[in-house]
Amino acid sequence: MRYTAPVDPSPTLLLVSCTACGMLAALLGLGGGLFVVPLLNLGFGIDMPQAIAVSLLCCVATSAAGSVALDKARLADLRTVILVEVAASPVAMFATGLAMLAPQALLRGCFALLVAFSAWRILLRELRARAAQAPAEPPTWDPQGDGDPPWPRRPRLGLVLGGLTGFCSALGIGGGPVKVPLMTEVLGVPMRVALASSNVMVGLSTACAATVSYASGSLRADLAAPCALGMAVGAYAGGRVAPRIDARWLSLAFVAVLVYMGGKMAWLALHG
């Protein structure tokens, strides 16, 4: 089937913008869904369900490309990944099925709330890092050593909260800004392990959610191909240059962009 859309962006434009988004996402340690949904919905006028479907696919692409290119999977703690994802993946599928039927204003409102939460978390992380003038991770575990990271604290609470993080996928994002605090603050996982584990988790829950959006017919090939390609290439390139770039000012600039995007989404949700 072919669909008409309010605006049909050219593949080249999508490829270039998504490559930039992928690079930025890798520099900031994010999956990229926070960029793709506003880019498609606010920038190109694509409906929210279609933007969410494309964004889910982009998250799978960046997660897979990141885990292969940077070998993040070896640093990830598989016990934590499975503990959270066994609840998050079914919820992600269920919630995505609902999102494909939900009104656009509701989706925009929920996305605005999630953007506000993400902006607050990123700002908090930066402020803490500046206050400490040192890496946030306590020296409780040596990632280069042979031993496993510590066993997650409060696994039952982690399971319940993990299920709630599955709702993020219904909005087209992997949920990194929600899953990382869950792991570090509830489960007591070291920050580096949490970031690597989050990358694997995002790939699992968004893949489960993407099968639902595919079946719903919301996925558009003309958007999915350039966006996923651009995001994967951008994430790979961003991951390579990330260690040589000081991303602190970039984080603060990104918070400002998030506040603007969240505000615009909220305005559109309330006033159409």
């Binding site: 072919r2 409906d47 279609q50 696919l57 692409a61 079914p90 699992l204 595919y214 996923a228």
Partner: protein, 126 residues
């Protein structure tokens, strides 16, 4: 266990490489305008004929297979490390994903998207 991790990385890498190649071909071959994905049942045949929608669909399906490789590797590793419950958890997620992909593969027609714009068929108007 190191072999399982290596095989997992290879499996994920292969799936990503296939999907990115399909996406690159789609970007190169797609005509201007909106284009939906096709049901998986007809995707492979269409991809061999270099139909852009079918190529993109194969790319999407290959990408969705990458977590399958990841989950198999995770299950093997967790079982070897002595975490049978977590290995069972990995198997549950894998079963969910495979069931969902299998149901998708058997679908002959995708659902109509709930969109502000009406879908039109790819056939020329009579």
């Amino acid at each position: 266990m190191a072999r399982a991790a290596r095989l997992t990385t290879w499996g994920v890498g292969l799936a990503v490489a296939v999907s990115l190649a399909c996406f690159a071909l789609t970007v190169g071959l797609a005509p201007p305008g909106a284009l939906g994905v096709v049901p998986p049942a007809s995707a492979l045949g269409g991809a061999l004929r270099l139909d852009p929608a079918a190529l993109a669909s194969v790319g999407v399906l290959a990408l969705l297979l990458s977590p399958v490789a990841r989950l198999i590797g995770a299950g093997v590793q967790l079982r070897a490390e002595g975490h049978p419950r977590l290995a069972l958890g990995a198997a549950l997620i894998l079963a969910l994903l495979v069931f969902s992909l299998g149901r998708l593969a058997l679908t002959e027609e995708l659902g109509a998207p709930r969109s502000s714009t009406a879908p039109v068929t790819s056939e020329a108007p009579r």
